[in-house]
Structure formats: structure tokens, C-alpha cells
């Protein structure tokens, strides 16, 4: 057995501190890591097993959130908003080996595909009257939960069109799923065999969590465990407060517009103000659009994850995620707005809203800590789903993916090319795996030249992904954004290129809306082109050799080098120093001013283009 802090050791009975706490933290975090590995490695759908779109967490007997497996930050705050609220009423009914399914956005959950499984942890499963010592839970993004379109991203106008709603239903007993419930579930989703494999993986993960929490309690003893948990939460809170206190006090605001809600093409305003007051922080969404008719709504849990994943970048990236972490923050989501919609409103596009909320955190913080923040990133989840009948075997298929884009430029560094941003860090599927499973061919998967916002440091490059669907009719669903507004630059940096969504881009180009479902003819090619990141600082201050390197590598054109950066060079990237100095000098005298000062209120004259 391991060695718990021994009785008689210095500080016995006191609050565990320094070393004891660190040792305990290692043990607790390894428990949730083990849950996470189990879930990922045993799942059947790409989304979980490769894209790692899942999280695992443990709660204590008081239903406090004590540990979380940190691979997918979009799940920060989701389990915590579900567990206390939905477990409390069931306290007298819980049995060892139970598994409850919940995805109800109006009971604390996020969007329907993120299905959570919740299991109680008892001290002794075989005892007559076992004591509840905590809760193990996990959340995994299922590729299909029913609903009107394959892949769970419909242009819905109410929640029911989005799929099956689990209201905290007991779906497993004694570590086995109830066939009656699961037959109902699988009959209502597409590609049901794989889905069942995913549910089983979720149950396996909770089972590991139950074992590990129980063995921690055996090691530390009931009081010892409580004492260490208290200390860990307090420690976390202390660190968060110290980090917030280091930020300059003040209120910092930012706003933007989204493309439209999928039903109407009107731009949708989103606003955020951040108040740093001593060691506390308030994030207020007042000024954000009211509940949308289309699926562009997010639940408060999603909005929370959206802002927090970026706030983390300013308060310390290695903080444990637990109750203590959340204490110094208040997130204000006014009722009947798109960040706290009317009950029953559709939420399928909620993560797009949450993503943009995260962008606004970075933009607002430019006023507080200009050296630490970043310009606009791709700023979209870029949900893409395909469905149809595979001509090779006649079976129905569904596939869902998200596409990376540019990262925002930083004070001293270019933005990364082709990455996921903020709370999103899901991996792609290898083309060979994808083409084996799904009847498509990836025709292009490349960086987009001239998509990066120019600046002293440039934004990251966006990505173009062209997919051909052979020998069958398929549906192509998009729930994305940023086709009608710019990913902004900061402090004179230029905006990145907007997103484009096109069918048959090289033969008979047909642009489609960022939120749409299109039926494809056999042989059609879809092209998703994600935004580049915004630049940072005056492009004329960029080292001409850095510009030349980008030209040599074909990611900045000779024309853009001259027009945006004031660098005169040839296609081989040989810089004409004299011409460059002359060009840059004349631009200054013309009083061009700091280009692209677009961090103002985000109002974009082009944003109102009706679809």
C-alpha cells in the first residue's frame, strides 16, 4: 500500500499543506487520467477515440467537483453544472453500479451530442448499507443522438429537432446497461452499433473512477480524504485569486457579430465585458443578442467553458480544475439571450457562440495586458457533418469533423498555422482511416496562402479541406461562422482572411451559407476554407527576411508582401532592400496610420450582408 501522511508526522491534524498536498494531488489526478485513457482507448467512434472529445471527473460526497481529466477544455464546467443539480434529488435512490445518462441543455448540460454518464461511488459495493463517498462522471461527444440531420448539427428551430434528450435517466444498473432503455436509444440514432460501443466505454471509465476514488479513501481514511480535498480546493482558490490579483483592475469590453443564426441572415451581436476587481473577476454578457430562432444559442455551461478556457491563458495554465478554481469568478448570462436561451430553444450551434465568447476574452484583455494576449484566431468550431449510404456496402454512414484554422498573432510570435483554438483541441482523422471508413476522398488538405492577417507578427494560416463524395448522394451539413466578418488584428495588425464554404470549388463554384445543409450529387466536392488569424502590430515593422521566407514557402504572395508588408521581393524570396525601404518610408509619410485598428467595438460594415 502507499504511504499516507503518517499519524504523528509534523502537522498531523492540521490542514495538509505544501508537500502533502502535492502528493495527494498527484494521486487524485492520476485517477481521472486513468478514467480518460479508458474511455478514449475503448470508444468506437472517431470523435472520442481520435478526436478526444470527452472528459472525466470526480466529485466528493458533498458533490463538490474535485478533479477533472484535462484534455478537452470545452467540458470545463459542463459536468460541474450538471452533477450537484441532478444528483441531489436522487440521493436516496442511488445504488452501486448505477449509470445515469443526461444531456439535457435545460438541466445544466450543453448540447445534445455531449452525453454524460453519472455513477455514484460507494465505500463498499457489497455492504448492506453502503455509504456514498462521491460521484464519477464523464461526458463524451456522440456523433449521433438522432434528430433531423446526420451528425447532430441541424439548422433546428427547437430542441426536439436536435435529437434524443436524456433527462438524467438510470440507464445502467449493477454495471450493465438496461436493454429496455438502450434498445430505445439505439433505435433512435444512426449507426447504432458504434454508438453502443461508446456507451459501454463510458461505463468502463466510470467503473475505473469508482475503484480509484474508493482506494484513495482507503489510503487516506474518511476524514483524511475530506481534509485533503478541502485543502486542495482552498489551494486552488488561493492560486487563482493570486493570479487574478496580478491583472490590472478595470473593466474591459469587446464585441463582435456572428454571421446569422441559420434561419435569418441578420448579423447577431455578441458582447462581453470583463471586470477585474482585486482577486475576483466578473464576465458579463449584457448586450448580447436575445434567444435566436435558429440553433445559434448556447447554454450558460457552454458560455462558461468558452470564456474560461481563454481566461486560463491569463491566470495560469496548470491550475487544477475543481470547485476552488471556480470560486473567484462570476459569469453573468442574462436570461433569454443567446447565452442563456429560453427553455426549448435550439442549441446545436452553441459551441460556435462559446468559441466567439472566448475570442472576446482575448480581445478585451488587449487593453489590460497587451503583451500577453493574442489577435483573433479562426474563431469558429467549424462543425461539418456528412451522411449518406455507402455505395460499397449499402450501409448508412454518418461522419462529423471540425476543421482547424489560423491562430492569432502574439506580441513576439506569429500565430500557429492550422490549429484548433481556445477550448477546442480535437484532433483530425487520418485521411487513410477516413477513406477506409467513409465513401469519400480528401482531395485537398492544405494551408491557404495569404490567409494570415499581416502584422509585425503575422496570424496563423487557415486550412482548406476539399472532399469528394463518389458514387452516391450525400448530405453536407455546416454549422459554422466567420464568413461575413473579419478575424481582427491588434495594434495595427491586419485581419485574417474570412471563412469560405463552397461546393465544387474548382469546377462550378457554388458558395453555401456557414449554417446550411446541402444535398450533394455523386462526384461533388465540398470545400471548407477556414479563417486565418489576425496580425499583431504594424506589418511594416515585420522583418523583411521573415516576409521573404513566407514568400519562398508560398504562404505569402509577392503581391501581398509588397501591398501588406511593404516588402519588395521576388518569388524566390530575394529582398530588394532599397526598394523596400523606399516603399515603407513613403507609406509612413502618406500617414496611412496604424492599419486595421479593428479592435474597437467590432462593428463591421460588411457584417450585415443578408443571406
Amino acid at each position: 500500500m502507499t504511504a499516507p501522511p503518517s499519524p504523528g508526522s509534523p502537522g498531523d491534524g492540521d490542514e495538509p499543506s505544501g508537500p502533502d498536498l502535492e502528493i495527494f494531488r498527484h494521486a487524485l489526478e492520476s485517477s481521472v487520467e486513468e478514467m480518460g485513457v479508458t474511455l478514449q482507448r475503448t470508444a468506437y467512434s472517431t470523435n472520442i477515440k481520435i478526436r478526444r472529445d470527452h472528459t472525466c471527473a470526480l466529485f466528493d460526497a458533498d458533490l463538490r467537483h474535485v478533479a477533472q481529466h484535462d484534455v478537452a477544455p470545452q467540458h470545463i464546467g459542463s459536468l460541474v453544472s450538471v452533477i450537484p443539480r441532478n444528483v441531489e434529488p436522487l440521493l436516496d435512490e442511488l445504488e452501486p453500479g448505477d449509470g445515469f445518462l443526461i444531456n439535457d441543455p435545460y438541466r445544466g448540460a450543453v448540447h445534445l451530442p455531449d452525453v454524460m454518464l453519472v455513477s455514484p461511488v460507494f465505500d463498499d459495493e457489497d455492504a448492506d448499507d453502503p455509504e456514498l463517498i462521491g460521484v464519477a462522471a464523464n461526458s463524451a461527444h456522440h456523433v449521433d443522438v438522432g434528430g433531423s440531420t446526420a451528425g447532430g448539427i441541424p439548422i433546428s428551430t427547437d430542441l426536439y429537432q436536435e435529437g434524443l434528450v436524456f433527462p438524467m435517466v438510470r440507464a445502467a444498473e449493477d454495471w450493465a446497461y438496461d436493454d429496455r432503455i438502450m434498445s430505445l436509444v439505439t433505435r433512435n440514432v444512426r449507426d447504432s452499433e458504434k454508438r453502443m460501443g461508446d456507451y459501454r466505454a463510458q461505463l468502463g471509465a466510470n467503473r475505473i473512477g469508482v475503484r480509484r476514488l474508493r482506494s484513495l479513501r482507503e489510503e487516506y481514511g474518511p476524514e483524511g480524504l475530506d481534509r485533503h480535498l478541502d485543502a486542495l480546493l482552498d489551494y486552488t482558490e488561493r492560486r487563482v485569486r493570486a493570479a487574478i490579483a496580478d491583472l490590472p483592475d478595470g473593466t474591459y469590453g469587446a464585441s463582435d457579430e456572428m454571421d446569422g443564426d441559420g434561419v435569418t441572415g441578420d448579423p447577431v451581436p455578441i458582447a462581453l465585458s470583463i471586470t477585474v476587481d482585486g482577486d475576483e473577476m466578473t464576465l458579463d454578457f449584457s448586450g448580447t443578442a436575445s434567444t435566436n430562432e435558429g440553433p445559434l444559442n448556447c447554454t450558460p455551461a457552454m458560455a462558461f467553458a468558452g470564456v474560461m478556457s481563454v481566461v486560463m491563458g491569463f491566470v495560469g495554465s496548470d491550475l487544477p480544475k475543481n470547485d476552488g478554481f471556480y470560486r473567484p469568478f462570476e459569469v453573468v448570462t442574462p436570461e433569454d439571450t443567446m447565452v442563456n436561451p429560453r427553455e426549448g430553444a435550439p442549441v446545436a450551434g452553441g459551441w460556435e457562440v462559446a468559441m466567439r465568447a472566448g475570442e472576446l476574452v482575448a480581445k478585451a484583455m488587449a487593453d489590460a495586458v497587451p503583451e500577453e494576449t493574442i489577435a483573433a484566431t479562426k474563431g469558429i468550431i467549424c462543425n461539418v457533418a456528412y451522411g449518406g449510404r455507402d455505395p460499397r456496402d449499402g450501409e448508412e454512414y454518418v461522419f462529423y469533423e471540425t476543421v482547424a484554422g489560423g491562430y492569432g498573432a502574439r506580441a513576439e510570435r506569429d500565430g500557429m498555422d492550422a490549429v484548433q483554438t481556445h477550448f477546442q483541441n480535437t484532433a483530425n482523422s487520418p485521411i487513410e482511416e477516413l477513406e477506409t471508413e467513409i465513401p469519400l476522398r480528401v482531395r485537398r488538405y492544405e494551408l491557404i496562402a495569404d490567409s494570415a492577417g499581416a502584422g509585425r507578427t503575422r496570424g496563423g494560416l487557415g486550412v482548406r479541406r476539399d472532399v469528394e463524395f463518389y458514387d452516391h448522394e450525400a448530405t453536407f451539413s455546416l454549422l459554422s461562422d466567420r464568413a461575413e466578418s473579419d478575424p481582427w488584428g491588434l495594434f495595427g495588425g491586419r485581419p485574417g482572411r474570412r471563412a469560405r464554404y463552397v461546393v465544387n470549388p474548382d469546377t462550378d463554384p457554388r458558395p453555401v451559407n456557414s449554417k446550411s445543409t446541402t444535398t450533394l450529387d455523386p462526384g461533388d466536392v465540398t470545400s471548407v476554407q477556414t479563417p486565418g488569424g489576425g496580425g499583431y502590430g504594424d506589418p511594416h515593422e515585420r522583418d523583411p527576411e521573415a516576409v521573404a521566407r513566407d514568400v519562398r514557402n508560398g504562404v505569402v504572395s509577392v503581391e501581398a508582401a509588397r501591398g501588406e508588408y511593404g516588402v519588395v521581393c521576388d518569388a524566390e524570396g530575394t529582398v530588394d532592400r532599397a526598394a523596400t525601404e523606399a516603399l515603407r518610408g513613403s507609406a509612413e509619410t502618406e500617414g496611412d496610420g496604424p492599419a486595421g485598428e479593428s479592435e474597437g467595438d467590432g462593428t463591421d460594415p460588411e457584417g450585415g450582408d443578408p443571406a
Binding site: 498527484h26 477515440k49 489551494y235 488561493r238 492550422a418 487520418p430 492544405e446
Partner: protein
Amino acid sequence: MTVRIGVDTGGTFTDVIVYDPAAGETRVVKTPSTPPEFERGVLTGIDEALAKADEDPGAVEFLSHGTTVGTNAVLEGELPPVGLVTNEGLRDVLAIGDQTRPALYDLQAEKPDPPVERRLRYGVPGRIGSDGEVVDELDEEAVRSVARELAGEDPEVVVVSTLFSFLNPDHEERIGTLLEAEGLDPVLSSAVHPEIREYDRTVTTALNAAVRSTVRSYLDDLSAGVEERGIEVPVNVMHSGGGLFSTAEASRMAIRTVLSGPAAGAVATREAATAEGYADAVGMDMGGTSADVSLVRDGELARTTEGEVNDLPLKTPMIDVTTVGAGGGSVAWLDAGGALRVGPESSGADPGPVCYGRGGDRPTLTDANLLLGRINPEYFLDGEMSLAVEETRTVFERDLAGPLGRSVEEAALATVRVANASLAREIRRATVERGLDPSGFALVAFGGAGPLQAAAVAAETGMEKALIPPSPGVFSARGLLVADVRVDEARSYRGPLAADRLAEAFAGLESTLRERTRDQGFDTGDVAIERAIDLRYEGQSYELTVDVDDPLDGATVDRARDRFHRAHERRYGHANYGEPVEPVTLRATARVTTPELRVEAGTGDRDPERGTREVYFEGGFRTARIYRRTALSPGSTVEGPAVLEEAGSTTLVPPDATASVSGRGGILVDPAARDPL
């Protein structure tokens, strides 16, 4: 008389071990490494070792080598220009990677640079589908034109990697031919790593291509020096998979040398553990900046094909080693919430811990051990370095003890405990996450810093014994003496899990293997072939590797399937016996066995007792007996608290623990006590 020699080169030191099989004796020489011309240090070490053993170069009958040359080439990122030819539209696959960021919340994070610069990446029309059939014919005119452009750029080598080449290499081979016609040096992904997943395959091929010339020229220089000395046997090189291969193979598959050093330590771990009767063991090689953790299960080293170097995937078979940022030089610090943390920052070898007196001014794990009386200030590194004990106390008081409100000794003890907790977490990861219960395992601890922490880490992870092998400071070099020659081949397989089809596919793999071992000069009669297969449930994306027994027939295939179910259950807690299982990759290994070491322990004719010293444990100072480790006779036992000292390493026997000396000179520590600190 004949001798066998192993040479293990690290960044700072080169360790040479000479083994005389007739006498059952080993001798060890430690000499400074000489980067960037590492061969000089290696040759000097060999000269010194032969002189010490009083042997002629002609007496060397076996020479093997663990090297960091390939590792450094990758880590330092100074790779020569490499070109790439792939499918049209897909040249940026290498830059997009898996599209994730390396750190979740760090707004300043950086993605690794792709191993081929964009201007040298080209796409050409031509496509093979997921069934291995041609979808679009290869546009040879386009290839020729790309070849001409590339020739103008003069890359050292050109990687050719196209979709589904592991099923059908025709396009890659044709592209290769056309590139050669332009005087270029092509490397095909289907030849280097014929497995599914284009990004992984391309990166692995590109990294291999990039380090090839560095490794080859190093090994050429080394071999020439060896030959010059009159050593008549060729140099064998340790590969990442824990086996030896020839310099020709090492040059061809240079990327397989990246874990050469850690693999030697893992092989030594396996040998020492099994010789002491432990089929299951964890190896903990703890040096100045980090600890490498390896795993032995059922007498075999745990291997993986899911490696990473510099944040880039590396998918060749390798020893499953996890590196933990906890070494002797790891810095102890208090974070903003008041928690005591150890590492990952390290003071390294220079300036090193405060007690080295070379300008280090942050408290480290080694400093903590010194303050606790666990390291002898005079005996440390054979007394070669004078230790600034007072300075160390001052730094601990200032940075840790003062702010924590504890005594210097309490702060030092806390530092040791936190380091042990992170080692224990990593070991749990290596065992429990594979469904293994470490309680029957032995912890084989070595490296300069490992034996001090061994008893505590073994206790914390519930392991039965800690084993401190003889000369733990140069233990990795021993692995080079006992490693088998291993040549690995693997190939993606698309088809049913049926004996006849598998037999056919394996036959192809095995004939390649036999050819390659014959090329290395081995008699096919000495070569044993082992088969394994990566299986998964249909629809899963991660596989588990299981052995396939001989002869390949319905019964052995069923047994392999059953092994998969059980491995899945052990590792993940459940198995789906009714579900179909699909094969993904076939693996075959040719093995030529190396004779075992016959080691006589020292006779113990010197007095092992060196008096006593006050050593701090939980609760206060205790009087510990101090022993000269090399003078302890086999069969003797030592009761804790005690400290066993030898050149380059110190073993701690905590209070209530007992250590005994085995017939092979290993120290077995039974942690026994519930709280070993």
C-alpha cells in the same frame, strides 16, 4: 582470452564496460563524452578499458554501442534539407499534423516545425484508394517536372509518401525511379514504415531520412577507428526496440537509434530482474535532469509503436519508456498557492545543485538528500567535488524552509517526498493503466540518483522489492552486453483473421527478415522468428499487440484472438467477447540470442563498515550505519537505517527496511515498513 565490450554514450559521460566471460568479471571505465565528435570519447574509453583489463584489441569478440547521436540530431532540430513528394493537394499534411495545439491554455504555445520545409514539399496527381486499387493514374510528366525542380534545390534526400502506399507501393516506387533519374536520393514511406495513417508514416520516414546522414557518418568514423585499433569484430548498435543491429541497418533505419540509450537501460533492467527471479519489474533510471521508467512483464520488455520525439509522432517499434521530469538536479519551488513542487525545471549538470559549488543557487533534490545526511559530503562522486553544505542550507532556508515555516530538514524531506510522489504517479501510469498490479513487481533502480529514492518509491507503489544492481551508475552499459540481436519488420494488413491468409502475409514478411539478418552476417540457423499481430475490435482505432504462436494455424489464431480479449480486459477493465476482432498490422521479429552474463559477486574481503552518520527521516535524525557497498558479501543483510556507498551512487535503506546482498551482487531492499520515510 576474449572479452566483450559495451559502450554507452550519454551527453556528459561515456561508460565502457568490459566483460571477461572466462573469469566472470566486469570492469568499468567512465570517460567524458566529446560532442560533437562523439567517436573520440568512445574510442578513448575503449582504449582505457582495454588497458585497465590488460587485454589486446584482438581479444575483443563482441562490441556493442548505445548512442545519442541520432537523438541529438532530432532534438537539436538542425536537420539537413529534405524534400517531399506526395499526392496533389496534400503537401501540407506534414504541417497540419493532427491539428492540435501542444498546450491547452498557453496562449504563447508553439507547434513543432514540420521536418520538411514547405518550399520543398510537392504534390503530384495520382491516387490509390482504400482498397489498394488505382483511382487516378500517376501523372509521370508532373513527377518529372517536380523532380527537375527539386534537383535544383539540391535536398539531401527526398521522401516519397503517397496515400495507401502500404497497400500498394506502385506509385511510390515509380516516383522513386523518376526521382533517381534526376540524380535525387528518394526514400519511400512504404519501405520505411508500411503502416496506415499518412501523417505518422510521412513524419517517421522524413525524420529517418533527416538523421540518416548524421548517424551514418558517425558510425563510419567509429567503425574506422575500431578497425584501426585492431578490433576485428564489427560494431553493433542498440536500437530503440532494445535489440542490437548492424551499423548498416542503423544507417538505413537511423531513426531507430533515438532511444538507443534508454533502451540499453531497459534491457539491463530486464536482465537483472529476471536473473534475481523477478519476471515483472519496473526500471527507474534516474539521472541529473529526469528519470526514465521502463516496464518488464512476464520476462519481456514492454514495447510500443506509439512514440513521440520533439512533439512529432514516431511509430517504429520501441521500448515503452516514460520520462519523468524528476532527477537529482530537479529544482524544488513553492508555487503561488503555497504547494511545494519539484521540477520539471532542472539545474542540470551545469551549474548543477547548490552543493556542487558551481554557482547553482536553487534548491534541488540532490541538495535535499545531502541536507538529510543521505549523501556523504566527502564521498560524493568519490570525493571529487567539494560540497558547499553551508551554502545549501542557506538556500533551503531562504527558498523553502522559511516560507513554509518548517525546519531545513523538514523542507528537505518534503522535497524528497514530492519527487517520490511524481515518480510513483508515473510508475502507476505504466502499470495500473495497463491493468497490471505492481505489488509483485521489483523496482530496478539505477543511474546516479535512483538508488537513493528506490526504497521509498517501491513502498509508495506497493512493489515487493527494490533492486539496486551492481555499479548502478553505469548500469545501462550492461544492457549492451546482454542485448539480443533483433530485427523488426511490420506491415499493415487488410484482410480476415484467418490462418491461411495470415500465413501467406507473414511468409512475405519473414522472408524479408531472413534476408536482412543474412545481410548482417548471421547464420539463419541461429535466427528465431517471432510473430505478433495488432488487433482491435472492428470499429476501434487503437490496437493491442499480441503474440502469435507457432505453427500458424486455426488454433494459434484462436489463441491470439483470445489473448487480445484478455489483454483488452486487463488494460481497460472490459472485453467484448462476442464482437468481431480485426487485424491491423502484422509484426515479425528475427532474434539472435546473446549469451547470458555469468557474474561473480565480489568476495567481500575488505571491511564493509564505514562507521555511522546522522540521517534524517520522518520524525528526526537517526543514527544510520554506513557501508562500503562493494565490500558487502553475498548473503549478508543490512538493517535500516543504513546507507550503502559506492562510486557514483548511494543506496538508502530506510528505518525498518532490510537490505540483502544477492549472489550476483545486487542489493535487494525490502521496503517492509508502512512508511519508509
